[in-house]
């Protein structure tokens, strides 16, 4: 009996861009008095309805600016949709952008604690898992030097090790698998398989068709903020590759 973990119903999300730059309260007050406050609306998601069941692995493809990262932010509960309903059951562990939640002046060790605390774990459970995290990251003695000395691959290792030291209900990775080296990718794959076996639902955004094919059983295609295809990776990726339509990358602004 499939059990829905993520349920989106008619989700639309609008970024409001002020036409004038209004960085200060003074200017805001002035514009408001003159009644000259106008906004450009940018609908990054339009009426997205999506259901993902427990244990499913979903790949998300689409052109730059299609709204993939925005969709992941909504599912991670970072952004609240403008319209529609988003229901996610359980704990979400996201890497939306590499390096968020890291303090570059602190050592790797201190960052393990900071990052895991930000993800909502207790100090005790971090201490319990600390050795395993460092071990899996393969950073060795680098764990004692400041994160600002890390390469982006090393940062990715640490971030992934922290994120997957616990078994989240939903794992969200935004273009994450692009930076690791082959050895680490293999370890990642094993870890992802283990999580899958434990029932974690996974969402993966990637511009590499291969990554989607190996990890996902299902794939959706976002274009201009709309879901335009939903099916098996082979199917959707083929249609996506075949569509070299109009070059309009950004969803057209609605006024």
């Amino acid at each position: 009996m499939p059990e829905p973990v993520i349920e989106l119903e008619g989700v639309s999300l609008c970024y409001r861009l002020a036409k004038q730059r209004i960085p200060s309260f003074k200017e805001y007050a002035l514009h408001w008095v003159r009644g000259a406050l106008t906004y450009e609306q940018l609908w990054a998601l339009r009426d997205v309805t999506l259901r993902v069941d427990r244990g499913e692995t979903l790949g998300i493809v689409g052109r730059n600016g299609a709204g993939k990262s925005t969709l992941l932010k909504v599912i991670s509960r970072v952004l609240v949709p403008t319209r529609g309903r988003c229901l996610v059951r359980g704990r979400v562990a996201p890497i939306l952008e590499l390096g968020t939640g890291f303090d570059y002046e602190l050592t790797g060790r201190e960052n393990v604690f900071l990052n895991a605390l930000l993800l909502g774990h207790s100090r005790r459970s971090i201490e319990e898992r600390y050795d395993a995290i460092v071990d899996f990251s393969g950073l060795g003695d680098f764990i004692r030097s400041p994160v600002r000395n890390y390469s982006s691959g090393m940062l990715a290792r640490l971030a992934f090790s922290i994120l997957t030291a616990w078994t989240p209900d939903v794992l969200v990775l935004d273009e994450f698998l692009a930076v690791g080296d082959v050895h680490f990718l293999r370890k990642c794959e094993e870890r992802l398989d283990a999580l899958k076996a434990a029932g974690t639902t996974m969402l993966l955004v990637s511009h590499m068709a291969e990554a989607i094919r190996t990890h996902c059983r299902r794939c959706v295609w976002l274009d201009g903020g709309r879901l335009v295809a939903d099916g098996t990776p082979d199917d959707v990726l083929e249609r996506y590759a075949g569509a070299n339509g109009p070059p309009a990358v950004t969803p057209a602004p609605v006024f």
């Binding site: 970024y15 960085p23 200060s24 309260f25 970072v78 939306l96 968020t100 604690f113 605390l117 100090r123």
Partner: protein, 254 residues
């Protein structure tokens, strides 16, 4: 709320980090946070104690209690505004309860205020001010001051994300509020026609519940205490509601 509780270890971590920055980064830090109010007290003493000699028998104690309270209140508000601003990148990419940052800031302010009771006690002894059992009531006063300040911080801190000049604006308003609160002057010198301004200033009621045990050596009378508790809880409720309403918009302004 539940989210905040789940992230309690994070909040405690942020508090510790804050205190460490304040006290360890420079050994001067510790000295300075203690010295600044004492210096301020000395200056006020030199300038005003003669003027207020009838109304206030032990002016330095009166002034120092006021200064410590005001420092806590104003610094916590400005710091909680900066805490949201400074962590904006995290707030737009991780599902952390946004209130964790201002809450941690105010808690570290409370710890700081509690630590400041040490030099205060020293001044009480040096000036020969009678030490009373009422001093043991201070934790309650500090708690009420903390709740009130947290309310104000929650109300104001999201604004700092939406507009870049709000911190300066609030700083100016705080200075204004300072003069409307009997911090370094006695209530009785306020001219009658302006008395209501000071009397109905909610900050005053919080301040007096803090200062009564120190200066008068008495536990605040029940009706003052009741007003103070209501003021603190109403402030907290308004702050929490306002924060909940505006916090969803924070990630959009980064």
């Amino acid at each position: 709320m539940r989210d905040l509780f789940l992230h309690r270890d994070l909040i405690w971590h942020l508090v510790q980090r804050d205190l460490r920055v304040r006290y360890r980064r420079s050994t001067l830090g510790l000295l300075w946070t203690m010295l600044q109010p004492l210096l301020m007290m000395l200056i006020l003493h030199v300038v005003f104690s003669h003027a207020f000699r009838v109304e206030l028998y032990s002016y330095p104690v009166y002034a120092l209690a006021g200064i410590l309270f005001w420092n806590f209140f104003s610094q916590s508000i400005v710091a909680s505004m900066n805490s949201l601003r400074g962590n904006a990148a995290i707030l737009s990419k991780l599902p952390v309860p946004k209130a964790a940052f201002p809450v941690a800031t105010v808690i570290s302010g409370v710890v700081n205020l509690a630590l400041a009771m040490v030099p205060l006690l020293a001044i009480l002894i040096v000036t020969g001010h009678p030490l009373s059992w009422a001093l043991l009531f201070l934790p309650v006063s500090i708690l009420l001051a903390g709740l009130f300040t947290l309310g104000a911080g929650l109300l104001l801190s999201p604004l700092a994300v939406f507009f870049s000049d709000v911190v300066e604006l609030v700083t100016v308003m705080l200075t204004l509020c300072m003069y409307l609160t009997p911090i370094f002057y006695p209530m009785s010198i306020v001219p009658d026609q302006f008395r209501w301004l000071v009397r109905f200033n909610p900050i005053r009621s919080i301040l007096e519940v803090f200062r009564d045990p120190i200066y008068f050596g008495k536990i605040p009378p029940p009706q003052h205490l009741a007003v103070c508790a209501v003021v603190a809880l109403v402030a907290l409720a308004i702050g929490a509601l306002a924060f909940r309403r505006s916090s969803d918009r924070i990630p959009f302004y980064i």
